[in-house]
Structure formats: C-alpha cells, structure tokens
C-alpha cells in the first residue's frame, strides 16, 4: 500500500518534470541564434524596440535603464526592490528575456528563428 503510493508519487513528479522539460525544449531550442533586437515592454505594452547591433542606453519610463553593448542587452539600473533584473546576465539569443516583475518591465530578444510570433 505504502509502496504503491510512493510509486504514484514518483509518477506524478516525473510527469510534471516531463512537462517542464517539454516546455523547456519548445521555448529554448529555437533560441540558439543570435537575435536582432530587443522588445522592451511595460506592463505588457510595447515601449521600445532596440537593435542589438547598436550600443545604447535607454531609460524605461523612469523604472529602469536598459543598456545594449557588444550585441547583448542588460538592465543596468532599476527602481525595483529585488534587483533580479540588474543581476541577470546579458541576453542576446532570440527568445531570451529579462523580467522585472516588481516594475512589470520585460526585455525580450526577438529576431532569428523566433518561437514567438
């Protein structure tokens, strides 16, 4: 009885892990290519599209600053509380993103073989 339950547990956990694996493959496999631009959104609304091949520094509505250098984008400063976005490594491959949930800002690389249309 007890072993049967543990087996069910294991199957349940494996099923969920497999689901996560499937989402991983679907969302990251096509993202091997270098992207062309980043889309910056505030609360889901498109704020700006910046090309990755031009170095720049952009103030995003006073919430944070997105810096592009050497073909990669990063968040250099932010008014948010946890600064996960600032600590995130620079992104350059299509599909990669930096999300700042406290401010509702997302930075996502587009172009290349983009999974999301």
């Amino acid at each position: 009885m007890k072993n049967k339950r543990l087996l069910c547990d294991l199957l349940l956990i494996l099923a969920i892990a497999a689901l996560a694996g499937a989402i991983f493959l679907l969302t990251r496999l096509p993202s091997g290519e270098e992207g062309e631009a980043v889309e910056i959104r505030i609360g889901g609304e498109l704020f700006k599209v910046l090309p990755l091949d031009t170095d720049s520094s952009t103030d995003v509505g006073g919430l944070c600053t997105v810096v592009i250098e050497n073909g990669a984008a990063r968040v250099s400063e932010s008014t948010c509380s946890n600064l996960l976005c600032v600590n995130h490594r620079p992104i350059s491959r299509s599909g990669e993103s930096i999300v700042c949930l406290p401010n509702g800002v997302t930075v996502r690389v587009s172009g290349g073989a983009d999974f999301y249309i």
């Binding site: 547990d9 969920i16 996560a20 969302t27 609360g43 993103s97 999300v99 949930l101 509702g104 997302t106």
Partner: protein, 169 residues
C-alpha cells in the same frame, strides 16, 4: 475533534504559519535568477490543517496567510500573485489528497509546482507572456523540488501529530 480543541489548533497553526513566512522572509533562497523561488514552509501549516482538521479550515488558514503576508510584507500585485499561487496549489492538494493515491510527498510536490504556475499565469497577464515562458520550466522544477522537500518534512510531522491526536481522543 472537539470544537474548542479545533479552534485552539487552528489558531496555533495560523500563528505558526505566519512565523514560518517570516523566517522565509528573513532567509531568502538563492533565486536562480528568477523571481519567486522559495521553500513555501508556511504551506506545512496549511497541510497540517488539511490533514488533521478539514478542507474548509485549511482553505481559511491559507487565505489568512496570504492576507497577513500582503498586509505586512507585500504590495497589491504581490497579493494577486499569492492568491493565484495559493489557490492553485490548494486545489491541487485537495484533489490529489481526495484521490487517495498519493502520499504527502507527491501531493506537496505537485502543489509546489502549481503554486509557481499560478504565479506565472498572473505575471503573464500583467506583463509580456512570451518573456515569461522562458522562466516557466525552471520555476516548475523549483516548485516541484521545494514541494517535495516540504512533503518529506510534512510526512514526518504528520506521523507524530496523528499519534498525538489519537492519544487525545
């Protein structure tokens, strides 16, 4: 269980729940570069209420936990995330427990994963869904692992609590 005993136990669990939330607030986990990764220790109390008392009472503790956390640590969007995560994970626990097929370890693991799915769903509604899909796999796995650890701890606690309850009845 006698009503007075039930009330006392639920009060105790609610207080303990809040203490566990505070401990987690003081000791943030490494976030793996994604927001919202935590152990969810407070869920131990919700599980205790669900196993020892009943579904309604456990749901009440869950809701009180969320509102207390919001009032003390949180923001309004924080409340939306907690509500979505708390609701989904509780629903998962309830249904999986009812099925009678799983031990607390599997139930808690699934609840942990679904908690993060609920939070992601809110984040997708509030920001750019495409950007959030990128974080989905790692958050599901983190929730699963944290939930499994909680489930393991809870199994050990449950054994002792049930022994105690039987002793009192």
């Amino acid at each position: 269980m006698k009503t007075s005993r039930k009330i006392a136990l639920l009060g105790l669990l609610t207080a303990l729940c809040f203490v566990l939330s505070y401990i987690e607030f003081l000791l943030p986990l490494p976030s793996f570069g994604v927001p919202g990764v935590k152990l969810g220790l407070a869920n131990l109390c919700v599980m205790a209420a669900l196993w020892l008392v009943g579904a309604k009472e456990a749901a009440a503790i869950n809701l009180i936990r969320i509102i207390l956390n919001w009032a003390i640590f949180g923001s309004f969007t924080g409340l939306l995330y907690s509500l979505a995560g708390g609701f989904l994970s509780f629903l998962a626990m309830l249904l999986l427990k009812k099925s009678g097929r799983f031990s607390p370890i599997g139930i808690s693991a699934a609840a942990g994963a679904l908690h993060n799915v609920g939070q992601l769903a809110v984040a997708m509604l509030l920001t750019d869904a495409a950007a959030l899909w990128y974080y989905t796999p790692v958050l599901i796995i983190c929730g699963l692992a944290a939930g499994a650890v909680n489930g393991l701890v809870f199994s050990a606690i449950l054994l002792r609590l049930q022994r105690k309850e039987n002793h009192h009845e």
